[in-house]
Symmetry: C2
């Protein structure tokens, strides 16, 4: 059993804690360890370090090596530039296939928060069973607790019998991020799940599907494969990657392939999409304030305060997020937390690159 | 003609820009220079540097010497501990009387903002005339533009004829900081002015009144006088000051003396009592935001943003004050700006002294 952790995200939603050179997966937004370190530990509970692969950005090499110090260096693969999930998984699949043509892999984002490890393992085991016995492409669906417009949805079909300890279904359809009305309809319908971005399949099955459904990408991957472990590899990789089209595994493979399954993920899952979500995860004081670092609050309610070094004092405010990190401070209304990426856009436009 | 600039304030209202060791008068809250430097320059337009005296705190000696570099060092007098305005003026009066027993002094706080210099000079000249010809105790009153509860008020009586180019009045009564209803009544009444804290008198007249109205203080001042310019001076000063009672010139002298006058100050005056006042003085952008330093604002209105070093980003807020200075950041609702001193109190209580 193998694992591919996708760690190429840039994480503008957690500015100023996440910066261009320190993406969300390297932050310890929740708990003591960085999100990527927690993700690796979660898989190491049932997968050997030498079978865990990480795919990241060349520009974050130093951070990746630091946060993934337990896995062999050759298991950290670098993309010259991010081209979405299908090429990323393809690159890691090549490396794994070389070692073990019959490998089964679990693919996972590096920056999600997952709790309840035993449930998680049970879900993964069910997926592995489906991927192995039925040669299926398996995705993990999360039971939605609100009509979120921030996720893609999966509509399930018939339940798959005796697939393992977790519930598994055939998939009826995939739906892109919906608007609010559609999201509400999905929730009412009852057979829609959030797409977690966690996938399980045999590398051989995945690559077969790439050949069939994204033939250009398959050819490009094969070209890369021919140069692996050769001196010209990095140059070749760069040149090929420039031509690779940006395409997600959802759109490129899962939505079009036949033999797809969803396992119901009944563990606690949070993709930590904004400071608002981090606030909601925190344990508030009697006024509903969640505080990290040094702060003094007066007449302040339901707010998230995080200070990396200095002191933050808040007086007479409600429902705000205040995050200080290094040379930058963010002050924002909680219900605008999803728009923090617009601040990052404005920094770019205003030539304030040193704060990115 | 002489001048006494009172510079002993601690200025908790401008935290985190003002700290225990850097009071409001040393800040350049408005304009390029510190408030004390602007005050000195304002008087130097018609008073020689050698006749300008500053009274401050021993603990702020270094800052005082830096900001008052143009006046002789011996003109900076240090109180071991602040005991309100009457002892402060008394101490400076001793030093001035020694040089010139017939001196007329203008007494002024160090940390007010005054604009329209020629009007200011005309007002002072009228006061000097009254202090000289009528041996009066003169105060400057400010025409109120709102029913503020933050100032003491002066009710005037008959106008004094041909006292100078500015209007001058006999004083009917002094009123302490009123509640809102009383303040509104004062404004409607029309003959109430704000007490600016600027006074004019002969040192001899002032000391005569101290002898008559605060005899304990007079004795203590005379004891200090006997040891001036002697080796034991500092120790003696410390010991005497411990016993001196906290008393203002308003309460101790002005309210009780007979020969008191008020000159109408028609210059632009602002005691800069809070960040709210600084916001109102600023020139806002199209969204009503006043910004000092580096900031990025999105969907933000009518706010005051000041950054000393880093960058402040504000998203989706209205009517807030965000001030970053050194290791501390204040975020507060504009209409709570007067309560910033409560933050300072809480820092003391919570043993966060390094941020004071």
């Amino acid at each position: 059993m193998y694992c591919i952790v996708m760690a190429g995200g840039s994480g503008t939603r957690f500015w100023p804690k996440s910066r261009e050179e320190k993406a969300k997966q390297f932050l310890n937004i929740y708990g003591k360890n960085s999100l990527i370190a927690s993700t690796l530990a979660r898989f190491h509970a049932f997968i050997k370090w030498k079978n865990i692969y990480v795919v990241g950005k060349q520009s974050q090499k130093e951070l990746l090596e630091k946060h993934c110090s337990k896995i062999p260096k050759e298991n950290i693969l670098y993309e010259p530039v991010g081209k979405n999930t299908a090429p990323c998984i393809g690159l890691a699949a090549l490396a794994i296939q070389k070692k073990d043509p019959e490998a089964i892999v679990v693919v996972s984002p590096a920056d999600h928060l997952i709790q309840k490890q035993s449930r998680f393992q049970r879900v993964i085991e069910t997926g592995v069973h489906l991927a192995d016995k039925r040669e299926g492409l398996v995705t993990i669906g999360i039971c939605p607790d609100r009509p979120s417009t921030g996720y893609g949805y999966i509509q399930v079909d018939k339940k798959v019998e005796s697939a393992g300890q977790a519930d598994a279904y055939q998939i009826k359809t995939f739906a892109e991020k919906p608007n609010l009305a559609t999201a509400k309809r999905f929730i009412e319908c009852g057979d829609f799940y959030w797409n977690s971005g966690i996938f399980i399949f045999k590398v051989s099955v995945f690559l077969k599907q790439v050949r069939k459904l994204i033939p250009d990408l398959y050819k490009q991957l094969m070209e890369i494969k021919r140069h692996m472990q050769k001196p010209e590899y990095e140059n070749k990789l760069k040149r090929v990657y420039q031509k690779i089209k940006n395409i997600s595994i959802d759109y490129g493979i899962m939505e079009k392939a036949a033999n797809v399954y969803m396992v119901r993920g009944d563990f606690t899952w949070n993709d930590l999409g904004s400071w608002e979500q981090v606030y909601k995860l925190g344990i508030g004081d009697k006024d509903g304030n969640v505080v990290q670092g040094k702060a003094v609050l007066l007449d302040t309610k339901n707010s998230y305060i995080s200070s990396s070094k200095g002191l933050i004092a808040v007086l007479g405010l409600e429902d705000v997020v205040v995050v200080q990190d290094g040379s930058a401070t963010l002050v924002c209304k909680r219900d605008k937390a999803e728009e923090v990426k617009n601040i990052v856009e404005k920094l770019k436009k205003n030539n304030l690159k040193k704060y990115l």
